[in-house]
Amino acid sequence: MASAIDELLAAVVDPEIPVLTIADLGVLRGASVDEHGVVTVTITPTYSGCPAMGVIEEDIVSTLEAGGYDQIVVRTTFSPAWTSDWMSEEAKRRLNEYGIAPPQQVGSTPEPVLCPQCAAPETRLVAEFGSTACKALMVCSSCAEPFDHFKAI
């Protein structure tokens, strides 16, 4: 039963970064169904004020409803706190392909962020805050393209 739900939830993507599912991001923490058929889905925000959470919640409900479930509870948890380390290597690869430089390991020795366009390591930070809370704005000195970098937190 749970795996059928997991399969349905695998289609729920982040509204800001549609190449990643909420499972890829680690925003989806778990799903279970009780003996009365009530599905409980647990999610955690990437940032306290992430405005995508409301949309994600709606998407979870509509996806599960389309899959035949009608009693759905979405709960939010804060503990353990979300970290970009939960993103899989495969998800990071897709993120890079999409044009967003993936996060590095939290606490690791900082290495140059590679430009997602031309892979050059000559990049620099333009602004610590980018288009969304989870991204910083960078620019490549080699191909001169600006790009988003998913922050490591």
Partner: protein, 264 residues
């Protein structure tokens, strides 16, 4: 029409429980600061900074929202996060005076943020160990954001302080003007002490040494003088505010007050 004024004597409490009172103070700090930051969007020195101010405000709103939701559950009187934000009067807000201070320029905004970030980093670090699991969860999320905010505000303090003669003078003036609102952040009362004894809250006085270290270090690197003003304002925690908060609330609450229960 009957007008029911809230308590005129200060010390207004809109919460029945100790934990509710505590959560509301934390929430109010974050909401009021977020509103102040919001005022500045489109006026920052550059577009990148506009985005930064907006992002930081959003983090604070998120934290306030989670704290208000939890307050409503603790108080169990049917109030939602929006009720706390939009339907309380000035005397019922228990934010520290620092966050309601208006800004006359970017230097004020960044100094206010720097003093507050340095405080919240220590606060959330301590509260991440709270015996209250829900509060610990909110804190462990917020501490990561506070660290990022502090890095940002510190770098501006240094850039402006150790910048041109003009920027140095102006940021020093901001530091001097806002210094008198920093002491209140560390004034604990019985609410803090009782909850600290229960392992749920933290006595803010214990956060002061670490805050002092951060502030002293950054001000030194910014070639700024650490003020030595013995006068420290207080009252915010008990609903006694300066004139500024009322104006801020008038703008923030206007829509809900004019069109009660309006939703998007």
């Amino acid at each position: 029409m009957t007008i029911q004024p809230s308590s005129q004597t200060g010390n207004t409490t809109t919460t029945a429980t100790l934990l509710g009172t505590y959560l509301l103070r934390l929430g109010d700090d974050n909401l009021i600061l977020a509103q102040r930051l919001g005022e500045y969007i489109s006026r920052a020195p550059d577009l990148e900074e506009d985005l930064a101010v907006a992002n930081i405000a959003l983090d604070h709103i998120g934290v306030a929202q989670h704290l208000y939701t939890y307050t409503g559950e603790v108080e169990d009187d049917g109030r939602s996060e929006d009720d706390f934000a939009f339907l309380r009067s000035e005397r019922e807000f228990t934010n520290a005076l620092l966050v309601e201070q208006p800004h006359d320029g970017f230097g004020d905004l960044i100094t206010r943020q720097f003093f507050f970030d340095a405080y919240q980093l220590e606060l959330w670090t301590a509260l991440a160990q709270s015996a209250d699991e829900r509060l610990a969860g909110i804190a462990s999320k917020a501490v990561k954001e506070a660290r990022y905010h502090l890095r940002h505000s510190s770098s501006w303090m240094i850039r402006l302080g150790d910048g041109t003669e003009e920027s140095h003078q102006r940021i020093q003036r901001s530091v001097n003007d806002l210094w008198r609102f920093t002491g209140e952040l560390f004034d604990g009362d019985s609410v803090d002490r009782d909850l600290s004894n229960a392992g749920v809250g933290v006595d803010p006085g214990t956060l002061r040494p670490a805050w002092e270290r951060t502030v002293t270090e950054v001000l030194a690197e910014a070639t700024l003088e650490r003020p030595d003003d013995p006068y420290q304002a207080s009252g915010g925690r008990h609903g006694v505010h300066g004139e500024h908060l009322g104006h801020l609330l008038a703008e923030m609450q206007w829509m809900q007050r004019t069109f009660p229960d309006l939703t998007w």
